[in-house]
């Protein structure tokens, strides 16, 4: 089908309202939402989970399922109302004019169909071209998304590719018919940061090359800053502020936008001197929205009688380019007033060494083929290689690295879920590396506890919150009577700042942040001295993250806990950790205090990681380093330095040393060690990746 020629806006959404209908009630998911996408423009749609941003995307695609319906407003694509179109007309537009890129690439590719076949389907449906022609086009597009060996990729099944490669295929599929509008629904959330950076760059370049407009849905403000021209902030089903990136980031005119920026760890924030300000309260459920302003109950500028009277319209800001906000008090609020100072804290002084790792190694033997294997030999996965460090009392040690770097394996060995292959773990000078968890004494188990990544799966869904905490107390042998344990449980709820009534609630009645608080209470039930927090906030929304992080810090201060904070999010690591350990393919490549690691000289991998992390601050300029390729498999690591396959400094080391030898651990300054062959001179020449422009 020929594409329409139209030179007006690509997409005009006007006062769109979408509701889902259940047996009980109508649940409005999106209300009075307007946005316009001009040709070649990229518009970011930002908000927390449940704010309706994905619903907008599906509404544009008119794919809301059986329960969803557009109840008001119009969606016009190139001037044509999508709401009036027949199913056949819609099919012509889907994939041809509007294409979509999804959050989970693995799930959005058909597992039983070869990549090539999935790709050629698009132009064959829409343009009726022959298979050979479509194949040629597919090869070209696969090359465009910078995948190596396109012929082989075309013959592969999705499971044979890595996550980053799969996402590139999804992008290729979206570009097959050269659409006018690309909708990206959290396209990089499931990917590692360095892969994310490469994918984002690819999307930007291709957008320019093909002249495609984009609707970029994300919860990550930094990412939107890097990719989009305009931004639309959503809260609880409504757009609260739209405008150009510059206007919204620097001259925000809505309290929610402001609160959002204040709750994310930007450079300069510090857990002691400049703590984050979490947004109080919880996100309202769709059927429990307040009257008037949806953000009212959580807003610092809320005024009763004004903000809760009637629905608030979007108003334009004079002097700015198409900058709108949904707030009645824009003129009364002093937007430049500095953030009211949060309680500041004395920096804690690390105490004695409680945990010491020496040359810890963990190898796994895996059968090459789990189902039918046995004959074709065993392979060794080197998950951890010579891990050595020590952690002190009331210190926060962050462990940073991408998936597959061995940080979770390390946590398992420490917890006793696995035993070490070699080396030792000393807890108070006692060896625990060979003691599996079932053989550890109660005190050791209570001492070393874990806070898990996903609070949604780690609570027993059929037990009340109180019961689960009491169960932990029983296991740790705390309290002699049921009453004593109950009192202790209530004290723990106070500690994690949950109302005492929550003891009788079921996990499903709690929000994600509240569940994570229960997880923290459980971990601290036995007075844990070492807590391994495995990405404790990455599954939570931005506004909740700050509150949960703060809570962890506060408990740590009170109880002098050693916190091992596993994360891939460098912003939050910089905010809360005292020391940072960077891991790559099982090796510790850099270890030092937070200042040392975040300032040059860097290990080349740390440098790339820093460059990859999107930062939501327009004053920041970053050096642009994109890592090529994927993390090599731990089953088949490269010879020599583990990072040599992707390192941009490799040429600076004479004699191909990087390919032959694993670099030794070098101490640059006391307390700062790197595993790299680069000469001191080269290290001295490194420039900072992140620079903050003078205000």
């Amino acid at each position: 089908m020929a594409k329409l020629d139209y030179d007006g806006p690509i997409l005009e959404i006007e006062n769109l309202s979408i509701s889902f209908f259940t047996r009980l009630r109508e649940i409005p998911a999106v209300m009075d939402f307007s946005v316009t996408v001009q040709p070649g423009e990229a518009v970011g749609l930002v908000g927390e989970s449940g704010c309706g941003k994905s619903t907008v995307a599906l509404g544009v695609m008119r794919d809301l399922g059986v329960n969803g319906r557009i109840v008001g407003g119009t969606v016009r694509f190139k001037g044509r109302d999508l709401g009036d179109m027949s199913a056949a007309e819609l099919r012509d537009i889907r994939g041809n004019e509007i294409a979509m890129i999804y959050q989970e690439p693995m799930a959005s590719l058909n597992p039983a169909m070869r990549i090539g076949k999935q790709l050629i389907e698009v132009p064959m449906i829409h343009e009726g071209i022959s298979e050979a022609e479509a194949l040629a086009r597919a090869l070209e597009v696969v090359r465009d998304v910078k995948l190596p060996d396109p012929e082989r990729i075309m013959r592969s099944y999705p499971h044979q590719l890595s996550g980053g490669q799969q996402q590139r295929i999804v992008i290729a599929m979206a570009l097959m018919s050269k659409p006018s509008l690309l909708i990206l629904d959290e396209p990089t959330t499931a990917l590692d940061v360095t892969v994310e950076a490469a994918v984002v760059e690819l999307v930007k370049d291709l957008g320019k090359k093909y002249g495609t407009s984009m609707l970029f849905i994300s919860h990550n403000l930094g990412l939107v800053l890097e990719t989009c021209d305009r931004i639309c902030v959503m809260y609880s089903g409504e757009a609260v502020e739209t405008g150009s990136i510059r206007d919204v980031f620097d001259k925000m005119q809505h309290p929610y936008t402001q609160a959002l920026f204040r709750s994310i760890p930007l450079p300069g924030a510090d857990k002691n001197t400049r703590p984050l300000k979490a947004i109080p309260g919880n996100f309202p459920l769709p059927h429990e929205r307040p009257d008037g302003c949806n953000f009212g109950p959580r807003c610092d500028y809320f005024r009763a009688g004004l903000c809760d009277k009637f629905d608030i319209p979007m108003v334009g800001i004079k002097g700015d380019d198409r900058h709108f906000t949904r707030c009645l008090r824009i003129d009364e609020i002093d937007w430049h007033a500095p953030m009211e100072a949060m309680a500041q804290h004395e920096a804690t002084v690390p105490g004695k060494v409680v945990l010491k790792m020496e040359n810890l190694k963990k190898y796994y033997e895996v059968a090459a083929n789990a189902l039918f294997g046995g004959s074709s030999g065993k392979k060794v996965v080197k998950a951890n290689e010579t891990l050595s460090f020590e952690a002190r009392e009331s210190e926060t040690l962050a462990i940073v690295g991408e998936s597959g770097c061995g940080k979770s394996t390390f946590a398992k060995v420490l917890m006793g879920l696995e035993t070490a292959t070699e080396g030792q773990i000393l807890l108070d000078n006692r060896n625990i590396e060979q003691v599996p968890i079932e053989k550890r004494d109660t005190q050791t188990v209570a001492d070393v506890q874990m806070v898990f990544q996903n609070p949604f799966d780690t609570l027993n869904p059929s037990m009340t919150v109180g019961r689960q905490i009491i169960r932990a107390l029983e296991v740790f042998g705390i309290g002699d009577t049921d009453q004593a344990r109950r009192d202790e449980m209530l004290r723990l709820l106070d500690l994690v700042k949950l109302p005492r009534e929550f003891a009788e609630r079921m996990p499903r009645q709690l929000s994600g942040g509240q569940k994570q608080r229960v997880g923290i209470a459980r971990a601290f039930a036995g007075g844990a001295r070492i807590v391994v927090a495995d990405e404790p906030v990455s599954a939570l929304d931005v506004s909740v993250q700050a509150a949960v992080t703060d809570l962890l810090m506060e408990i740590q201060r009170k109880q002098k806990t050693t916190l091992l904070f596993i994360s891939h999010d460098l912003s939050i690591v910089r905010y809360l950790s005292d020391r940072v350990m960077v891991m790559y393919l099982g090796h510790v490549v850099e270890l030092g205090t937070t200042e040392q690691v975040f300032a040059p000289p860097y290990h080349p991998y740390t440098e790339a990681l820093l460059s990859a992390v999107p930062i939501a601050d327009t004053r920041i300029t970053k050096k642009h380093i994109v890592l090529e390729g994927d993390v090599p498999s731990a089953m088949n690591p490269p010879p020599g330095c583990p990072f040599q396959t992707r390192c941009r400094w490799k040429a600076q080391v004479p004699g191909g040393l990087c390919e032959r030898e694993v670099p030794p651990v070098r101490e640059l300054v006391p307390g700062h060690q790197v595993k790299c062959h680069l000469s001191q001179e080269m290290f001295d020449r490194m420039e900072p990746v992140i620079t903050v422009a003078a205000e």
Partner: protein, 348 residues
């Protein structure tokens, strides 16, 4: 792959050995042997006569030796009879004892002699399997496509009216056992009770020349029961696949609904039911027993009933061996087919 098949064949042989030994042991218990002697000879035989009959026919040797003889790894028994005639397991009537082979078990291709049908077990199994094979073939032809169509139609729009109607049908058929549905069908379609004498109530004639009239009812009876089950499985699997994200991807690529179902959903949805369909084969042997007896169709199931009722040891053993082979071969095919359907599993 060759290794994998070899291992499965090994498992198959081992299972067959164990199973046949159990059957052998049970059928060779003395009371069973006594009953056999009396049915073969005379119901008024005295205990001594029974013992002497059993002795003469080699039934009184130790269990392991007898089993070995049946297998063909121990030389067949040779007994000098009272009247001077040399009798032996391997000596056919009319041949001289010297010319007879020493071993004659199933390893030599000799399945033994049926005491009920007075015929070679090998030949009986051959004939009966052909008859049952014919029945099974038509059952599959009717059952599998209709079950898949039913399941896919129901599963592609979960919760719709089509889904609910088809699901009700599937549940009803699978909740009605063959001995109920068979009797019902005969009453409704073949008897004077209702008056619709569309089909024949017996399938005996179908053994020689099967036609729609005399063969449809037994086929339908077996097929309906299995169909509901497979349809339910297919529906569940289809409904799950239809909610998968890659189906949304396909839909938003502009693929039309029939093509979404045919090209994208079908193969993924068939992975689970495929195993179930393969599991139906051994289970069909079961249903065949009831239906063949009910419709007096003298196939494998009917033979099993006769052999069991008359303690026909060698025929029963033959039937067991065949059953084991059928079960395990279908499982092998199902595993290999699974690999073909699901590219995420590979066999080396």
């Amino acid at each position: 792959m060759a290794m994998f098949i070899l291992r499965r064949v090994g498992v198959m042989i081992l299972t067959a050995l164990c199973l046949t030994f159990i059957v052998f042991f049970l059928t060779n218990l003395y009371p069973n042997l006594e009953k056999l002697a009396k049915t073969q000879g005379d119901f008024r035989m005295s205990d001594e006569e029974v013992a002497s009959y059993l002795g003469r026919n080699g039934y009184l040797q130790p269990m392991a030796v007898k089993y070995g003889q049946w297998l063909g790894v121990v030389p067949g028994f040779v007994i000098e009879d009272r009247d001077g005639v040399t009798r032996g397991q391997c000596i056919e009537a009319g041949t001289a004892p010297e010319d007879a082979p020493r071993f004659c078990g199933i390893l030599q291709g000799d399945w033994g002699y049926s005491t009920v049908f007075r015929e070679d077990v090998g030949k009986i199994l051959n004939d009966k399997l052909a008859l049952t094979g014919k029945l099974m073939f038509w059952v599959m032809v009717l059952m599998v496509p209709s079950a898949l169509i039913l399941g896919i139609l129901a599963g592609m729009r979960e919760g719709s009216r089509t889904d609910r109607t088809l699901s009700t049908i599937a549940i009803t058929t699978t909740a009605t056992p063959e001995y109920v549905s068979g009797v019902l069908f005969i009453a409704v379609f073949a008897s004077t009770a209702v008056g619709l004498k569309w089909f024949k109530g017996t399938a005996t004639a179908a053994m020689d020349g099967a036609n729609f009239e005399n063969f449809f009812l037994p086929v339908l009876t077996i097929a309906l029961y299995g169909m509901g089950y497979i349809a339910r499985m297919t529906r569940a699997s289809m409904a799950e696949v239809m909610t998968a994200q890659y189906i949304r991807t396909a839909r938003l690529k502009g693929v039309s609904f029939p093509n979404v179902v045919m090209k994208h959903a079908l193969r993924n949805a068939l992975i689970a039911p495929f195993t179930v369909i393969m599991l139906q084969f051994p289970w069909l042997l079961n249903g065949v027993v009831i239906v063949e007896t009910l419709f007096n169709y003298k196939g494998f199931g009917w033979t099993l009933v006769q052999a069991a009722g008359n303690n026909d040891i060698e025929l029963l053993l033959g039937v067991s061996v065949i059953s084991v082979v059928v079960v395990l071969v279908t499982q092998l095919i199902s595993d290999i087919g699974y690999v073909y359907l699901n590219p995420r599993i590979s066999v080396r």
